[in-house]
Point group: C2
Chain length 570, copies 2
């Protein structure tokens, strides 16, 4: 492609609303253009990147035996009513009525539709297993669309759904999808991590997320560098401390904390480690107050709390509810002296082994120190793992200590089991002639999100730094003086033709612009290899080669340039 | 691909609701599966066909210099309000509100969005011309979805939009699109015709439709076998008769027509040619009655009528309006004796030169014969071309006589001119620094409709008869006894590998089924070439080759089979 026949549209500054580097850079590079909140046009340059991602996803899915189909984006409400999700999916689902006032939605996902296909097309175990996938535009009406294509409302997703006669077959396909996903992200040149993920109401251990690693990632991931363990922090278990609780050594006493309402402030005032403090979080569940106690340096894990008996639909207590029960403002709350007949006390494992700790005194402007279980307050009603792991925690597999990194979720594989096949009567006849619901799996990749995630991982102050597999063009040939130098024009046209003939995805920058403008554009849009052809070097038979990720350029003989690029891209 | 790893799902009978052969065959062959009214899943077999069409469209658009992008499917109402189409597009547009109660639609077309992109991205004549295209899912809420993918609600469309500094540039791109469209349909192996089409309110002659020819086509096309003339019947001009009106020869007289209410019945009763009769059609426009007179054998052309002064928004008169004016029931209406101060009389050119004609008498059960202009009624207020051409009419280019065929519209190219650029202030600075609205063109192809149209043109009693370019597989290797004969398995696997290595799209039917079942499936789904490998022929070193379109099969040496297929597909 020649820039003169293409559409490059770069900006010096990104619009103010863009927060993340990838969002800013995608707008500045002209990969996308905003139509409305969470709605983006993929401009020709960006679509080239998106299509490259799609092609790798399609190839790996096909190699793994999945069959591509294409389901409608618009789905009738009836199927969602049958699965029970029409009422519960919430406002993320874009609903509409057709001209006959029938209810439809723009599919946020396709479990219902594929299960409907499965129940009418699959009759016998002989047809199983089957794995169908599609690459399709989806819509989720995010309450606050942001981060450009990373949390857009309309987006491109690869979703796959598999059908099985038994769990062993599901596990086999699931493992194949795990490998296929790993291949996809490896081939795209991304640093990524697969982590065990929460399976929610379905339970079991059949769910993994795939994350592109980036400092800006919304998800915290726990992994063990000396073992295979990796899990979303939501799921990673904080083991019970190995040591038992020491005996009380201090007397219980009030501490004057006139302005100190957080553990950090109290620890600083008392000049003690934060690990000696305990914080209290008040939650309501089933109309009852629950008190969660955490060590001052720990944070609550809502997924773990939600899995405790009676806590499925918990919410944070309101300030009004707190004041009514404790007769004290938030910031000074503590577990000592509360009416335990009216409240359930949930202590994190780490708190349950503490002695002589500091916590709120349940009166304004005071904390208490030297608090001890048994002596100053009854033991907790429940001791459980309710905190997020932190770096340095022991790995749950006992093979080292955890580290924490941040990731952007780009893939998720999940063993649905029989959730949808039972709801929609998607059954088959097994070898014994018995009717059974099919085991199912689902496997998603955020195709358009990958582009943003890749840029979060690959950028510098000049712009985007695409891996070769995702770059809009593999090579840029910058012809300086194309319109005034016959020699430059001849050399550039010849090299361009040679690279094209070698199947290389090359952009010939034949614009009548200053070199600085051309260089800046090529760097901003992230082309990994740049060859500059200008009169000065050409007089010596040279062209200049610059790798996007290398600091220095080098001179190469003009007749060797095509061979060099072929070798680099082989 | 092996059938054992693919998903074939054929039916003996099509669902009753399917009317057209293509709809029946697509369901029977398992190319598509219905989700709801006008909503179809493209099953793996069908998606292979759709993707082949997409690939050819994409390739020809790119070769013609168009740049692919991808605009959102969901569009904000504001742009449509700006163009004035939000209120007038009608119930075909699927409208919805997002979670913030803002209005959106599922884009039925993208003129507004692309014009919004153009106005913000294009500033100078130096950037022009530009031609953008996308291949995308669209939605139009048809009042009566039918014919499967041919008139579905959700469908795949290629839409392109071009921007220009002047009309000459638009014409150049338009001509390029005309050639690209011709290439697309030629490469897909379709018999098609490009015809001049109506430009509606925009006027001018810049619109062509591309039709796949098929007896079941909804559109009538007029063309001249001895010249280049071809036009949708909506548009084809019926020239004024060369001969002038003969003098009256008969006396005006009542004719008793007790049960004869149509020209056909009256002509039969009187034993005269239908061409001697005149029919009357009553239309309302601008609150005034208009009478259109047509020869008995002609039909009214509503597009032509709508272009007459004062007739833009005409409608047919109700029976009540007819009875109130004529004091006579429909079936016996005529132009003689009506109060011409209250009605406008529009005579088709053919009627204007008739003498001694027969028409309704304006009293029940009577017609009148021997009617003559001037003598029996005043000359018409307007003489115009208001009928559809018929086979045998002179070609408007004067180079022969017209024939009529039927077609399915699969493409449409259109010179929008400045309709949208003026409405949305999509302007540029020309070489003189003047601000001007851009000239625009739009170019659509019904990608998913092409699959149905192709089948309407290519089927027989065994099933679909795909052209090679659109077939889901180019070759089927049917291995009879694959699971019980080592020789068959070895020969089939070897040939399959050889064909795959040659880049041929081959399906190896390795099912454990009777030959009749396998043959019937391969014929139904329309694979153009079939090679059968069975023990009997293999004993003589032969395989059987059968072209889908040839009556007879032939024996070929097994070692020559791959070379033969390569030669046939070269």
């Amino acid at each position: 492609m020649r820039t003169s026949q293409f559409f490059l549209s770069t900006l010096k500054e990104a619009p103010n609303e863009a927060e993340l580097p990838s969002h800013k850079l995608m707008l500045r590079a002209g990969l996308i253009k905003k139509l409305g909140s969470g709605l983006y046009t993929w401009m020709p340059l960006g679509l080239r990147v998106l299509r490259k991602v799609e092609a790798v996803v399609r190839d790996e899915m096909t190699k793994a035996g999945a069959l591509e189909l294409l389901m409608p984006a618009i789905q009738p409400a009836e199927l969602w009513q049958e699965s029970g999700r029409w009422a519960v999916f919430g406002p993320q689902m874009l609903k509409m009525k057709d001209r006959h006032e029938r209810d439809f939605c723009f599919g946020p996902t396709h479990e219902e539709v594929i299960t409907d296909i499965g129940r009418s097309e699959i009759k016998s175990y002989k047809q199983l297993p089957l794995n169908f996938f599609q690459i399709q535009t989806k819509f989720r009406d995010e309450i606050r669309p942001r981060f450009g294509v990373m949390r857009a409302r309309e987006f491109v997703m690869k979703d796959a759904y598999s059908f099985h006669a038994d769990l062993a077959s599901l596990q086999q396909t699931y493992d194949g999808m795990y490998r296929a996903y790993s291949n996809v992200f490896s081939r795209l040149g991304l640093k990524f991590r697969a982590v065990a993920a929460d399976t929610g109401a379905i339970g079991g251990d059949g769910s993994h997320e795939f994350h592109v690693l980036a400092d800006s990632g919304e998800d915290a991931l726990a992994y063990c560098p000396t073992s295979d363990f990796a899990a979303n922090v939501e799921l990673a278990e904080a083991l019970a401390p190995a040591d038992s609780r020491p005996a009380p050594a201090e007397a219980l006493r009030d501490v004057d904390t006139p302005k100190q309402t957080t553990c950090e402030q109290v620890a600083a005032l008392l000049e003690i480690p934060l690990q000696r403090t305990v914080k209290l979080i008040a939650l309501m569940a089933e109309d009852k107050l629950n008190i969660v106690l955490l060590r001052g340096d720990h944070s609550m894990n809502e997924v773990k709390v939600g899995k405790l008996a009676g806590m499925t639909d918990f919410r944070f207590a309101t300030e009004e509810e707190i004041r009514s029960f404790f007769n004290c403002p938030p910031g000074f709350l503590g577990p000592v002296g509360v009416d335990r007949s009216k409240v359930r006390l949930i202590a994190d494992r780490a708190v349950a082994v503490m002695n002589d700790f500091v916590c709120g005194a349940n009166k304004p402007k005071f904390h208490i120190a030297g608090v001890n279980w048994g002596r100053d307050l009854p033991e907790a009603d429940i001791v459980a793992d309710v905190r997020n792991v932190v770096a340095g925690d022991p790995s749950p597999d006992g093979k080292g200590v955890l580290e924490i990194c941040r990731g952007i979720e780009v893939g998720h594989i999940f063993q649905l089991r029989t959730k949808y096949s039972e709801a929609l009567s998607c059954t088959f006849l097994d070898a014994e002639g018995q009717t059974k619901p099919m085991e199912m799996g689902c496997y998603g990749i955020g195709v358009s999100r990958i582009v943003g995630a890749c840029i979060e991982q690959n950028f510098d102050d000049k712009g985007i730094n695409f891996p070769v597999a995702m770059a809009p063009f593999q090579v840029a040939v910058v012809a300086v003086g194309y319109h005034r130098s016959e020699a430059v024009k001849a050399a550039a046209d010849k090299l361009y033709a040679e690279l094209l003939a070698a199947g290389i995805d090359v952009l010939l920058d034949d614009r009548n612009e200053r070199p600085g403008v051309m260089f800046a554009d090529i760097e901003l849009i992230g082309i990994p290899h740049r060859i500059t052809i200008g009169d000065k070097n050409l007089a010596n038979g040279d062209i200049e080669y610059q790798a996007r990720r290398d600091p220095a350029a080098s001179l190469v003989k003009v007749e060797e340039a095509a061979a060099m690029m072929k070798a680099k891209l082989a």
